[in-house]
C-alpha cells in the first residue's frame, strides 16, 4: 500500500505561511521512507495531512489510491498504524491495555477480545521487547519504555503501513538500533514504512528513500546518497556540515561542524 501527495498544502489558523506548501511526493509500497527537515519544516503536518486527520487547503493526499479524507477512519486504522508525538497519559492504563487499543479498529465498539487479538498483542509486546512491562501502568514507565509500548500498539493494528513521528528520540542506542532494524526488516517483507526523524545518519543508513522538507516544501527527495549532499543539507539546516561516506556502514554520514566566526552558537 502506498501513500502519495499531489500539490498538498495545509496550514493552521492564525499563521500566514502554510505549514505545507504544494508538496508532491510518494511513499512506495514496501519502501522505507524517511522524512527529514529542521524544526518547523512541516514534518508532523505532512503526517497529519497524508493520513487525512487534517484537511488540506489545496491539493490532495491519497492512501492506496483513495483520497485520505474519503477513507472511513476505522477501515484506515486497520491498514495504517501511527506512532505520533503527542499523547496524554492523564489516567493510569496498563501497558497491555495501551497495546490492546491497537486492536480496537478490528473490534468495533462492543466485540470482546478474541484469541487472535490476544496472540497479536503478545507478539507485538514481544517484538518491541516490552512483554515484562505489560502489567505496569504507563504512568510509571520511562520515556523509552513508553515509546516502545506505543510502537507495539501500532504493530497490534496489524498494519500494512507504519508511520512514526520521532519514535527514536528518547531511546538509547540499543533500543534505537533495535527499533530501526525492525522497521528495516518489516519494510523488506513488504510493509510500507514512513519515519519522521532528526537522526540524519540513521535515516541515511536504513532508509531507501529520503524526503527533505524545508519551510513546508520538498527541498529534495530520492535515495539517501542523492539527497544528503553537503550543499543541499547546509542550505536547509543553515549550519556548516561535512558529508562523507561512513567507512563502517557504507552510507552517507553528516557531521555538523563548528560555526564560522561571527555566527551565534
Amino acid at each position: 500500500m502506498k501513500l502519495a501527495a499531489e500539490n498538498l498544502s495545509a496550514g493552521y489558523p492564525g499563521r500566514r505561511r502554510p505549514a505545507l506548501d504544494r508538496v508532491t511526493l510518494e511513499v512506495p509500497t514496501g519502501s522505507f521512507t524517511a522524512v527529514l527537515g529542521p524544526n518547523g519544516s512541516g514534518k508532523s503536518t505532512l503526517l497529519r495531512a497524508l493520513l487525512g486527520v487534517m484537511a488540506p487547503s489545496a491539493g490532495r493526499a491519497t492512501v492506496d489510491g483513495t483520497d485520505a479524507r474519503a477513507w472511513n477512519r476505522r477501515e484506515l486504522a486497520r491498514l495504517v498504524g501511527v506512532v505520533s508525538q503527542n499523547e496524554a497519559t492523564a489516567f493510569p492504563v496498563t501497558a497491555r491495555e495501551l497495546v490492546a487499543m491497537g486492536r480496537y479498529p478490528h473490534q468495533g465498539p462492543l466485540r470482546a477480545e478474541r484469541p487472535h487479538d490476544r496472540r497479536v498483542i503478545q507478539r507485538a509486546l514481544k517484538r518491541c521487547d516490552v512483554t515484562e512491562l505489560a502489567a505496569r501502568r504507563v504512568t510509571t514507565l520511562s520515556g523509552g519504555e513508553l515509546q516502545r509500548v506505543r510502537i507495539a500498539r501500532a504493530l497490534a493494528q496489524e498494519p500494512r503501513v507504519l508511520a512514526l513521528d520521532e519514535p527514536t528520540a528518547s531511546l538509547d542506542i540499543s533500543h534505537k538500533m533495535t527499533i530501526v532494524g525492525l522497521l528495516r526488516r518489516w519494510a523488506d517483507r513488504g510493509m510500507t514504512v514512513l519515519l519522521i526523524t532528526h537522526q540524519l545518519n540513521l535515516a541515511a543508513r536504513f532508509a531507501d528513500r529520503v524526503v527533505l522538507l524545508h519551510r513546508g516544501r520538498v527541498a529534495a527527495q530520492g535515495p539517501p546518497r542523492k539527497v544528503l549532499r553537503e550543499e543541499v543539507m547546509e542550505s536547509v539546516y543553515r549550519w556548516p556540515l561535512h558529508v562523507d561516506c561512513d567507512p563502517v556502514v557504507g552510507a552517507p554520514r553528516v557531521v555538523p561542524l563548528d560555526p564560522p566566526p561571527g555566527r551565534p552558537g
Binding site: 486527520v53 505520533s84 499523547e87 492523564a90 489516567f91 493510569p92 496498563t94 491495555e97 495501551l98 479498529p105
Partner: protein, 333 residues
C-alpha cells in the same frame, strides 16, 4: 473469558447486589424504623397499610432516585474526565450547576415555587440546559472543532456569570428564600416521587447505554484526540455525542436533586484505583458505585441528626473525602 474479564463481571455482580442491599437498608430506616420482615411485607402488599405507605410512597422512590442520580453523576463524571483528559473534571465543570442553581434561586426568590412541586426541578433543568447551550455556543464560536481547552474555559466563564446572577438574586431576596436557596444548592433527594424517579430513569438509563457503547472510543479520547483519530475514532462525533449525553444526565440530576458534589469526581477515581481505567469496566462500575454511595449518603443525611435532615452534599463531602483518601493511600502502597 480472560481472567480480567471474569473479574469485571464479578465486580459488576457484587456491586449490583450492593445496590439492592443498600436500597433495602435505606428503606428500613427513618422516623419509623422498620424490620426487614415489615419492609418485605410492605413491598409484597401484605403488611400494615401505614408501613406500606411509608415504604412504597416515601422511602422507596427516594432511594431509587438516589440510585438514578448517584449513578448518573458518576457516569457523567467518568465521561467528562476522559473527554477533557482532566482528572479534576466533574459533571458540573462545564457550568451546568451554575445555570441550574441560578434558575432555581430565581424561582425561589420570585416565589414561583408556590405554583407546584414540579416548578423547581423543571426550572433547574431548564437552567442547566441554558448553561449547556451557552457553553457549547461560546466554545463553537471560538473554535469550530470544539477544542476541549476552549470548552473548559467557556464552562468556567459561563459558570462565573451565573454565580453573579445567583449573588444578585440572593442579595435582593428575604431570609427564608435565601435559606431555601442555600439548602437547594447543597442538594437534597427530599423531592423524590415515583414521577421523578421515572423521569430520571428515562434520561439516565439510555444515556448509560450510549456511553457504554462508546467505551472504547473514550479509552482512546483519554490519550489524545489525534491518537484516537489514528486509531479509527470519529473524534468530532464521539465528542459531541458523549458531551451531550453526559450533560443531559447531569442536567436531569441537578433538576431532581440539586447540586450534589463529590460523587461525580470521587466515584470514578475510586473505581479507577480498583479496576483500572478501561471504560468498559469503568463506566458500568462507576454507575453502580455512584448509586450505592448516594443511597447510603442519603440514608445518613436523613437519620444522622433526625428529625433535622442535613444536606446530602455535606454527607458526600464528609464521607466521600476520607474514604477516597484511604483508597488513594492503599493504591500507592
Amino acid at each position: 473469558m480472560s481472567p480480567a474479564g471474569g473479574r469485571q463481571w464479578t465486580a459488576v455482580l457484587l456491586l449490583g447486589v450492593a445496590v439492592v442491599a443498600s436500597v433495602l437498608t435505606a428503606v428500613r430506616f427513618g422516623s419509623v424504623p422498620l424490620s426487614s420482615a415489615q419492609v418485605l411485607g410492605a413491598l409484597s402488599g401484605t403488611g400494615d397499610p401505614i408501613h406500606r405507605e411509608i415504604v412504597v410512597q416515601l422511602r422507596l422512590p427516594r432511594a431509587l432516585l438516589a440510585v438514578v442520580v448517584g449513578g448518573g453523576l458518576a457516569l457523567a463524571g467518568a465521561t467528562l474526565q476522559a473527554l477533557l483528559r482532566n482528572p479534576l473534571a466533574e459533571p458540573y465543570i462545564l457550568g451546568i450547576s451554575g445555570g441550574a442553581a441560578a434558575a432555581a434561586v430565581l424561582t425561589l426568590g420570585l416565589g414561583l415555587v408556590a405554583a407546584g412541586s414540579w416548578v423547581l426541578p423543571a426550572a433547574a433543568f431548564v437552567g442547566a440546559l441554558v448553561a449547556i447551550a451557552l457553553v457549547f455556543g461560546v466554545a463553537t464560536a471560538v473554535d469550530h472543532s470544539l477544542d476541549v481547552r476552549v470548552l473548559l474555559l467557556a464552562g468556567v466563564v459561563v459558570g462565573t456569570f451565573f454565580t453573579g446572577v445567583i449573588a444578585l438574586v440572593l442579595a435582593l431576596s428575604d431570609a427564608p428564600a435565601v435559606r431555601g436557596a442555600m439548602l437547594w444548592m447543597m442538594g437534597s433527594l427530599g423531592g423524590a416521587q415515583w414521577r421523578t424517579v421515572l423521569v430520571g430513569a428515562t434520561y439516565t438509563l439510555p444515556a448509560g447505554l450510549v456511553l457504554i457503547a462508546l467505551a472504547r472510543s473514550l479509552d482512546l479520547m483519554a490519550i489524545g484526540e489525534e491518537t484516537a483519530s489514528f486509531l479509527g475514532t470519529d473524534v468530532e462525533r464521539v465528542k459531541r455525542t458523549a458531551l451531550g449525553v453526559a450533560s443531559l444526565v447531569t442536567a436531569a440530576g441537578v433538576g431532581m436533586a440539586g447540586v450534589i458534589g463529590f460523587v461525580g469526581l470521587i466515584v470514578p477515581h475510586a473505581v479507577r484505583l480498583s479496576v483500572g481505567s478501561a471504560h468498559r469496566k469503568l463506566l458500568p462500575l462507576s454507575f453502580l458505585a455512584g448509586a450505592v454511595f448516594l443511597v447510603l449518603a442519603d440514608l445518613i443525611a436523613r437519620v444522622a441528626l433526625a428529625p433535622t435532615e442535613i444536606p446530602i452534599g455535606v454527607v458526600t463531602a464528609f464521607v466521600g473525602v476520607p474514604l477516597f483518601l484511604l483508597l488513594l493511600r492503599r493504591s500507592h502502597q
